[in-house]
């Protein structure tokens, strides 16, 4: 039975709609006959009456306002405050998306150098539907652990091969999607932590270069910074950029997890004079990169393009993509074998990857999620017997040490994270990256909002985050019974629906396996 004392909103609003003009009239009379001061009330009431009449009779685009008048404004007010209310008051610690409070709190604590040990038990749901790490009964003593080393470009015996000594890199975030303070804080933090940073597809990496960290230059489909007018590659400009000391690796972005099959997007709100110049684009218009490289129309031409970039730059060259159709990946790998050209690494971006701005359908419904894609790609490389020809990187919500180790076990040689580092910078997940209104000054170019982002302080947090992760990797490695991160394998991972992960990789089972994975790997 409905509550008998429930407020009848219709009656209340009807009463309000009648009383507003009456009170206005009374106020007018009182101002006239008592004291003129009362017209300070009359004037706002007249305006309110006008607005209410417009809502009730003058407009047709808001049904609530047309039916109930000014009182219905409350709904719009509460709706606009909804995200804040939910985040602060009503959402539980494991509910928010894309990162819940438990996940974010771990990064915040690591970045601030606070111990992230927690009490009583895990906040996560244990339903056998998630990937877990499998420890060994015989942990390895810590002093027997071996340091991590990974040399990109060693397969081609490059003079300029680049060696990572941590399995983590800052993923692609351009100047444009981020403001200058955030870029500099990340770059300075990367330098302190000794990890490389990807420039994102933002043209000449002016701010990335300021702090002296190692850079992976990303060439997106629009090739900002190294393009001809028509969008094709300008060899000369690429060679010049590759000659910069800080630029160690070139990454060709074929597609991105958050919007696979679609080019980068920078909303016009975020395009300043400087960004327009660095990218060579007009002001006042959304910048939409083409969905593909002009040079890459099939597997053969894509491989030829990889070779061209390798030859022009002289640096290690990798490709980044989000897995779509498996058959197309196989065709690409075969074209590599035919032409005997291999990228120095293949970076798999999971469909759960982040972005500054992307159409919702692409964010939600396109591409293969990382933990499902990674074993498939690793298996395809092995099937084609070219796994030893290139490194494999993974990206997509890998912000916690456990998730990073799972990716490393499922075939990745190193991992990328972007949002983990944004959280380390103080991101509060306000979800306004596309609007130039980031309240903590990360994804905005407005000076008054960037003011709060102290470059030196936040750079230290970035470094703290990396050091705390390193500590956790070592602890975990010892527990997994492995001596180095390179030894991790699928046997370390409990995959949903099966006990031993390594059996997943046989070719006969692959289709069924993918289906099984899809079915059970969704978190409740």
């Amino acid at each position: 039975m409905a509550l008998s004392f429930a407020v009848d909103l219709e009656k209340v609003s009807r009463a309000a709609n009648i009383s507003i003009p009456i009170v206005t009239g009374l106020s007018f009379l009182a101002g006239n006959y008592l004291t003129f001061y009362l017209h300070f009330v009359t004037v706002p009431l007249i305006m309110l009456t006008g607005l209410n009449l417009y809502y009730l009779h003058g407009q047709r685009s808001h049904a609530l306002l047309a039916n109930y008048g000014i009182l219905a404004q409350m709904r719009y007010l509460f709706e606009s405050l909804g995200p804040e209310f939910r985040q602060y008051l009503f959402m539980s610690d494991t509910e928010e998306r894309p990162f819940n409070r438990v996940e974010r709190a771990e990064v915040y604590r690591k970045a601030k150098g606070i111990d992230s040990a927690s009490a009583f038990g895990s906040q996560l749901q244990f339903g056998g539907a998630d990937f877990k790490l499998l420890h060994s009964m015989y942990p390895v003593p810590k002093e027997e652990l071996e340091p991590y080393r990974l040399t990109i470009g060693e397969e081609r015996e490059l003079d300029q091969a680049y060696t990572l000594d941590k399995p983590l890199m800052i993923s692609a975030m351009s100047y444009g999607s981020l403001g200058s303070h955030a870029v500099r804080a990340l770059a300075r933090g990367a330098k302190k932590a000794g990890i490389p940073m990807n420039t994102g597809e933002g043209g000449y990496p002016k701010y990335h270069l300021m702090e002296g960290c190692d850079l992976i230059f990303q060439m997106g489909t629009a090739k900002f910074g190294v393009r001809h007018e028509d969008g094709t590659l300008d060899d000369e400009r690429l060679a010049k950029l590759a000659a910069e000391d800080a630029v160690k690796v070139i990454e060709i972005k074929l597609s991105q997890g958050a919007k696979p099959g679609k080019g980068g997007l920078l909303p016009k709100e975020k395009i300043t004079q400087e960004i327009a110049e660095l990218r060579g684009v007009p002001l006042g218009k959304d910048v939409v990169s083409p969905p593909f490289h002009a040079e890459c129309r099939d597997a053969a031409s894509t491989v030829a393009f990889i070779r061209r970039v390798q030859e022009v730059s002289g640096l290690p060259v990798g490709i980044k993509l989000c897995l779509g159709r498996d058959t197309e990946l196989v065709a690409l790998l075969r074209a590599m074998k035919e032409q005997d050209v291999f990228p120095d690494y293949l970076s798999i971006d999971g469909a759960e990857g982040g972005t500054g701005a992307a159409p919702k359908a692409f964010m939600d419904d396109f591409g293969v999620p990382l933990l499902e894609a990674l074993p498939v790609v690793d298996a395809r490389l092995k099937d084609e017997e070219i796994r030893h020809k290139m490194k494999l990187f993974a990206a997509g919500k890998l912000i916690s040490p456990g998730k990073q180790l799972i990716a490393l076990s499922l075939g990745a040689d190193a991992v990328y994270s972007a949002r983990g580092f944004m959280l380390a910078l103080g991101c509060i997940q306000a979800l306004q990256c596309n609007a130039n209104t980031c309240p903590v000054g990360i994804t905005t170019h407005r000076p008054e909002l960037q003011r709060g982002l102290d470059i030196e302080g936040k750079a230290q947090r970035v470094a703290n985050y990396v050091h705390a992760l390193e500590h956790d990797w070592e602890e975990a490695l010892s527990a997994l019974g492995k001596r180095s991160l390179r030894e991790l394998s699928p046997e370390n991972v409990l995959m949903p629906g099966r006990l031993q992960g390594d059996t997943i990789l046989t070719r006969e089972d692959e289709q069924q396996n993918l289906i099984n994975l899809r079915r059970v790997s969704r978190r409740p």
Binding site: H39, V43, P44, M47, Q59, E84, G284
Partner: protein
Amino acid sequence: MGSADPATPKHGPPPLWLWGPRLIAAGVMAFVAYLKLTDNPADIAIFTQLGMEPHGRYLVGAIEGFCALVLLSPYAPVGAVMTSGVMLGAIIAHATKLGLIVNGDGGKHVGLLALVFLSSLLLAFFRRRELPLIGDTL
């Protein structure tokens, strides 16, 4: 507030000619605020007639000065609504107490009032979508 959809249409920059009404309204408001706050005899006469001398005159002068500042700030649409409010009050005064011709000025005072009222309405109308709270519904 938290719209993550990049396809949401945004209002473009306001047309350049809106600077005309904006500057007219701000200039006149600053000028009349100055007159009221410096004991201009014509204003003293008006406010005596309204029974608000001297506090009402100072109050209105302060509000007008504030309006001029807001009109020149990034919150100009709010300033425009406030200015039209002040003008509405002035219209009430002329309609009920003062008449069209004040102190034998041949209607100049009322003419100026109409000019500012029109200017502020234009500015408020063309930038109504930037108004806080109600902007999205207009």
